[in-house]
C-alpha cells in the first residue's frame, strides 16, 4: 500500500462555533522530518491533540500504519508507536530523572498489580535490562550526570530533553514534538536539533510544531503551514519560504 | 403518585435554588464547596433564631435566647448575614488559599473540614430535634389537582420569581456577565480587565445569600434541623450533575428535576415501605448519569476531564 505512516482525512474540530481545525488531507511520508508552523492560534496544538487522540475530533478519520485509529485510545496509540511530547513540558516533577525514564520504559506486564506484588524474577530481570537502555539514552541527551536529581530541579531545556528521552524509551515509530525548542537557550537548541536529526537518521519519523523558523528551515525535509485551522501550504522548506499565501498569513494580510 | 407532585414541586424549587448557587460558585471559583449545605442551614437557623419568641427555650440554650422579631424582618437579616458570612469566608479563608496556590483538591478537603465544623457548631447551639418557624398552621387545598397549602403556593411562586431574577441578573447585568466571563475563562477575563478578585467576592456573597434563601424556604416548607444542609447537599450535587456542572441554567433545571423525581418515587409501588430509600434513588440516578452522559444534560465535554 502507500508508504505513508500517518494519514488524516477531513479532520475537524470546533469550539463553541469557532472552527479550530479543518484539515482536508494530510500525510506523513516515511522517514521524514516534517514541521508544522503557523501563526498563533492556527490550530497546530489542537491538530496535534486530535492526531494523538488527546482530544476527540468532531469528524474525520486518522490512519496510523494503514490502520484506522480514529477511535483508538490515546494510550493505545502510544503503544502502537505514536508518541508525543507537550508544549508545556510534562515531566514527573516529584520523581527522579531516572524514575521518569524507568516508568516510560517498563512494560505494561510488569506494572500489573500482581506481578509487582510478587516481584517475580522475570520482573527484576526486565527492570535490570532497562538500565543499559536508560543509561545510553541519558548519555545521548547529556542528562546522565543528572540521573538521580528530581525532575523539578532540571532547567527548562533539560526538562525538554528528559521528555524527549522518556518518549524514546517507547521505541516510537513516529515522534510528535510540540515546540521542542520553546524556552531553550540557543546552545541547547542546536544540541536538540542535532539529536532530532540523528533520531530521524535512525528511522524515526518526526512531526514537530515549532516557532523557531530558522531551525525549522534548517532541519526539515518538509514544512506544513497552518492558518485558521487549515493547511495553507505544504512542501520543501524552500517552496514554503517563497509561498505568497504563507507570507500573507504571517503578516495578517487584509487587503481583500 | 400524583399526590406527591405538590411535595415534588416544593423540593424541586429548593434543590434548583441550591444547585444554581453551588454551580455559580463552582463555575467562578472552581471550588466544589462541601460547606454549601451549611450556608443553606445557616439561613434557616438564623431566621429561626431571630423570629422565635424570646421565651421559647425550645431550640436554643438559655444563654442564647431567641430574639423574637418579625418573621419577614428575620428573613431579610438572615439573608444579609449569609452574604456577610460568604464574604468573610472568601476574604479570610479562600482568598489567602488562592494566593498561596492551593490546588483545587486541597481546597476541597478544606471545605469538607469547614462543613463538619460548621454543622456541629449548629448542633451545639441548637438542639438535635427538628424545629419549625412560628407560622400559623394551614390546611392543604386543591390547586389543579395538586395538594398544597396556600403558603406552599406562595413559596413556590416566590422560588420561581427568584430563579427568574437570578437568570436575568446573570444575563443582563454587568456583574452577572462578568461572572459568566470569569467562569468561562479566568485567563480571558483577566486579559479583558475584569477584576477577578472582585468578581469572586461578589460571587461568594451572591451564592451565599441565595443559599441562605434556599435554607429559609426549606425551613418554611419542612422544618429546621442542624444537619438539614448536609442532607440536601447530596441532592443538590445530584441536580448539578444532572444539569451539567458549571452551567447555571442546567443546574436549575437538573435540581428541579431531581426534586420532583425524589418525591414522585415515593409513590412507586416497589418503593412501598422503603421511603428512606428515595434519596438513595436520586443519588443512584446521579451515578448512572455520570456513567452515560457525564457532562450532564446542558454541560459541555471539555469541562469534565
Amino acid at each position: 500500500m502507500s508508504n505513508n505512516i500517518l494519514s488524516v482525512n477531513s479532520l475537524t474540530k470546533s469550539f463553541g462555533g469557532l472552527e479550530a481545525v479543518n484539515v482536508e488531507n494530510f500525510q506523513i511520508n516515511s522517514n521524514e522530518i516534517t514541521s508544522l508552523i503557523g501563526p498563533n492560534g492556527a490550530g497546530k496544538t489542537t491538530f496535534f491533540d486530535l492526531i494523538t487522540r488527546f482530544q476527540d475530533a468532531d469528524s474525520g478519520s486518522i490512519f496510523f500504519k494503514n490502520k484506522n485509529v480514529s477511535k483508538t485510545n490515546s494510550y493505545m496509540l502510544a503503544r502502537l508507536g505514536m508518541v508525543r511530547t507537550f508544549q508545556l513540558t510534562r515531566v514527573f516533577d516529584r520523581m527522579t530523572v531516572y524514575e521518569n525514564m524507568q516508568f516510560a520504559g517498563s512494560s505494561i506486564k510488569n506494572e500489573g498489580f500482581l506481578n509487582s506484588l510478587f516481584n517475580k524474577t522475570s520482573l527484576r530481570k526486565d527492570e535490570g535490562n532497562l538500565i543499559e537502555k536508560i543509561d545510553d539514552t541519558l548519555k545521548m541527551l547529556n542528562l546522565y550526570e543528572m540521573r538521580n536529581a528530581y525532575a523539578r530541579e532540571l532547567s527548562g531545556g533539560q526538562k525538554k530533553l528528559l521528555e524527549l528521552g522518556r518518549s524514546l524509551m517507547k521505541d516510537p515509530e513516529i515522534l510528535l514534538l510540540d515546540e521542542p525548542l520553546a524556552g531553550v537557550n540557543p546552545k541547547l537548541a542546536d544540541n536538540i536539533l542535532e539529536i532530532i536529526t540523528n533520531l530521524n537518521a535512525k528511522g524515526i519519523n518526526i512531526l514537530m510544531v515549532e516557532h523557531n523558523i530558522n531551525a525549522v528551515m534548517k532541519i526539515s525535509d518538509r514544512v506544513v503551514v497552518m492558518a485558521e485551522g487549515k493547511i495553507i501550504s505544504d512542501g520543501k522548506p524552500d517552496f514554503v519560504r517563497s509561498d505568497k499565501k504563507v507570507i500573507e498569513a504571517y503578516l495578517g494580510s487584509s487587503d481583500e | 403518585m400524583i399526590e406527591q407532585l405538590g411535595n415534588g414541586l416544593l423540593l424541586g424549587v429548593i434543590i434548583a435554588l441550591g444547585s444554581v448557587a453551588l454551580s455559580l460558585l463552582y463555575g467562578v471559583t472552581r471550588i466544589v464547596n462541601f460547606a454549601h449545605g451549611e450556608i443553606i442551614a445557616l439561613g434557616a437557623v438564623m431566621t429561626l433564631f431571630f423570629s422565635s419568641s424570646p421565651d421559647s427555650s425550645l431550640l436554643f440554650f438559655d444563654r442564647y435566647s431567641p430574639i423574637g422579631i418579625n418573621f419577614f424582618g428575620s428573613i431579610v437579616i438572615s439573608i444579609i448575614l449569609c452574604g456577610i458570612f460568604g464574604a468573610s469566608l472568601e476574604i479570610f479563608l479562600f482568598r489567602p488559599l488562592r494566593k498561596n496556590n492551593f490546588g483545587n483538591i486541597a481546597v476541597l478537603v478544606v471545605t469538607i473540614g469547614l462543613s463538619i465544623f460548621l454543622r456541629h457548631i449548629y448542633l451545639l447551639f441548637a438542639s438535635a430535634k427538628p424545629s419549625s418557624f412560628i407560622l400559623e398552621l394551614q390546611r392543604r387545598e386543591d390547586y389543579f389537582g395538586i395538594q398544597l397549602t396556600p403558603r406552599n403556593v406562595q413559596v413556590l411562586v416566590l422560588g420561581f420569581i427568584v430563579m427568574i431574577l437570578v437568570g436575568l441578573f446573570l444575563t443582563y447585568t454587568k456583574t452577572g456577565k462578568a461572572m459568566r466571563a470569569v467562569r468561562d475563562s479566568s485567563d480571558l477575563a483577566s486579559v479583558t480587565g475584569i477584576n477577578s478578585d472582585y468578581i469572586i467576592l461578589v460571587t461568594w456573597i451572591f451564592s451565599s445569600m441565595l443559599a441562605g434563601f434556599t435554607g429559609i424556604i426549606q425551613g418554611v416548607i419542612n422544618n429546621v434541623r442542624w444537619n438539614m444542609g448536609f442532607l440536601i447537599l447530596l441532592l443538590i450535587f445530584a441536580g448539578t450533575v444532572l444539569g451539567g456542572i458549571g452551567t447555571s441554567f442546567g443546574a436549575m433545571f437538573g435540581g428541579f428535576v431531581i426534586g420532583v423525581l425524589v418525591q414522585l418515587s415515593v409513590g412507586l409501588e416497589f418503593m412501598d415501605g422503603h421511603t428512606e430509600a428515595k434519596n438513595a434513588l436520586a443519588l443512584g440516578l446521579m451515578i448512572l448519569i455520570l456513567l452515560i452522559r457525564p457532562q450532564g444534560i446542558f454541560g459541555t465535554k471539555d469541562r469534565i476531564s
Binding site: 494523538t52 488527546f54 490515546s74 494510550y75 502510544a78 508518541v83 508525543r84 511530547t85 507537550f86 510534562r90 514527573f92 516529584r94 524514575e99 524507568q102 516508568f103 517498563s106 506494572e111 500489573g112 498489580f113 506481578n115 509487582s116 506484588l117 516481584n119 520482573l123 527492570e127 522518556r166 518518549s167 524509551m169 | 462541601f34 496556590n101 492551593f102 490546588g103 483545587n104 486541597a106 478537603v109 478544606v110 469538607i112 473540614g113 469547614l114 463538619i116 460548621l118 454543622r119 456541629h120 457548631i121 448542633l123 451545639l124 438535635a128 445530584a238 450533575v241 422503603h274 430509600a277 434519596n279 438513595a280 443519588l283 443512584g284 446521579m286 451515578i287 455520570l290 457525564p294 476531564s305
Partner: protein, 348 residues
C-alpha cells in the same frame, strides 16, 4: 529524622496521658483506644492509597468498610437482631473475610468506572453519595441487614481462634479478652498491610501510580492506561477499608445501620491528615493521636457544659475534627510523618 523523634514523643505523651488521666481501669481504656486506633489507622491506610498515592478523593470510605463487614458477617454464623433468627451455618471466617474484601473492591470498581475518567471532584461527590446510599439501604432492607436492629452473635467465629496467652494477659490486667484479640489482629494486619504496601510502593506498579498522581496526560502519552491504574488503586484502598470495617464490627460484636454512617469517613480523614498523607506509617500514628485528642475533647465538653449529653459530646468532637482537617490541610498538609517533597498542594 527529626519528625520521627517528634512522632515518638507524641506517642509516648499520648500513652502517658491515658494512664495519668484514668486512675482506675487505665489498661481497659488503653486497650479500647488502641483497638479503635488500629481500626481507624487501617482504614486511613486505605484512604492513603487513594489520596496519598494516587490523588483520588474518597469521601465514602464508610461504604467500603461497611460492605466488607456486612458481607463477611452475613457469610458466617450470625443472628438477626430483631427477630433473633439464628443462622448457624456459614463459611469459615477466613474465606468469609476474603469474600468481604472482594465485595469492597468490587464496590470500588463500580464507583470508579463512571468517575475515574472524569475530573477528580466527581469522585468526591460520588463516593460521598455512595456512603449515603449505603446507609439508607442498610436501614431500609431490614430482612437482610437487620436494619437498625442489626446483626448479632457472630463474634464466636473470630474468638474461637483466640490463643490462650490473650486470656492470660487479659485476666492479669482486667481487660476484655475479646477486644484484646481484635486489637492484636488489627495491629498485625496493619503491619502486614504496610509491608505489602512498601513492597508495592517500590515496584513498577507503585511508580506508575506516582506518575498518574502527577500528570495523567503524560502517563497516557507514554502508552499507559491511567484510568485502569487509578481503578486498581481505588480497589486496593477499598479492600483495605473493608478489612478495617470487619475488625470494627468484631470489636463491637454487633453491626447495625448506625455503625457505618457517612461521618465515620471524616474521622478517618482527620486521622490520615494528622498522621501524614503519603507516608506509610503516618495514618496509623495519626489514628492513635486522633483518638487521644477525641478522649481529650470530652474533657473540653465537660468544661463547656455542666453535664454534657451525648449530643454535646458528639458536637464538640466533630467541631474539633472539622478544625483539625482544616488547620492541618492549610498549615501542615504533610501531617506529622508525611514527606514535604511529595506534597500535592498545587495539583489542580
Amino acid at each position: 529524622m527529626n519528625k520521627y523523634i517528634t512522632a515518638s514523643l507524641l506517642l509516648l505523651g499520648c500513652i502517658a496521658y491515658i494512664f495519668l488521666s484514668n486512675d482506675t481501669g487505665s489498661a481497659r481504656v488503653f486497650v479500647n483506644l488502641i483497638t479503635f486506633a488500629g481500626v481507624y489507622g487501617l482504614a486511613a491506610i486505605g484512604i492513603n492509597v487513594h489520596f496519598g498515592w494516587t490523588g483520588l478523593l474518597n469521601f465514602g470510605h464508610a461504604a467500603f468498610m461497611g460492605i466488607g463487614a456486612y458481607t463477611t458477617v452475613l457469610l458466617i454464623p450470625h443472628s438477626l437482631g430483631r427477630e433473633g433468627v439464628i443462622i448457624s451455618t456459614g463459611l469459615p471466617l477466613p474465606i468469609a473475610i476474603i469474600f468481604g474484601l472482594i465485595a469492597s473492591a468490587l464496590l470500588g470498581l463500580l464507583l470508579g468506572l463512571p468517575t475515574l475518567r472524569l475530573r477528580g471532584d466527581y469522585l468526591a461527590i460520588v463516593t460521598i453519595a455512595a456512603a449515603e446510599i449505603f446507609r439508607l439501604l442498610v436501614r431500609d432492607f431490614e430482612n437482610l441487614t437487620g436494619g437498625v436492629y442489626g446483626i448479632i452473635q457472630f463474634s464466636d467465629s473470630l474468638q474461637v481462634y483466640r490463643p490462650n496467652f490473650v486470656d492470660v494477659i487479659s485476666t492479669k490486667y482486667d481487660v476484655s479478652s475479646a477486644q484484646l484479640w481484635v486489637a492484636i489482629l488489627t495491629w498485625i494486619s496493619i503491619v502486614l498491610v504496610i509491608i505489602i504496601l512498601s513492597r508495592l510502593q517500590k515496584s513498577p506498579w507503585g511508580r506508575a501510580l506516582r506518575a498518574v498522581r502527577e500528570d495523567e496526560d503524560a502517563v497516557r502519552a507514554l502508552g499507559k492506561n491511567a484510568v485502569w491504574l487509578k481503578l486498581q488503586s481505588f480497589m486496593l484502598g477499598a479492600a483495605i477499608g473493608g478489612l478495617s470495617g470487619i475488625f470494627l464490627v468484631f470489636n463491637y460484636g454487633t453491626v447495625q445501620a448506625s455503625t457505618f454512617v457517612p461521618v465515620l469517613t471524616f474521622y478517618i480523614w482527620a486521622a490520615l491528615i494528622l498522621g501524614g498523607v503519603g507516608s506509610l506509617g503516618g495514618p496509623a500514628l495519626g489514628a492513635i493521636i486522633f483518638w487521644v485528642i477525641i478522649a481529650g475533647t470530652d474533657s473540653i465538653s465537660r468544661l463547656l457544659f455542666e453535664s454534657p449529653d451525648g449530643q454535646q459530646l458528639a458536637g464538640v468532637r466533630f467541631v474539633i475534627v472539622g478544625l483539625l482537617i482544616m488547620l492541618f490541610m492549610i498549615f501542615r498538609p504533610s501531617g506529622i510523618l508525611g514527606k514535604k517533597e511529595e506534597l500535592l498542594l498545587d495539583v489542580k
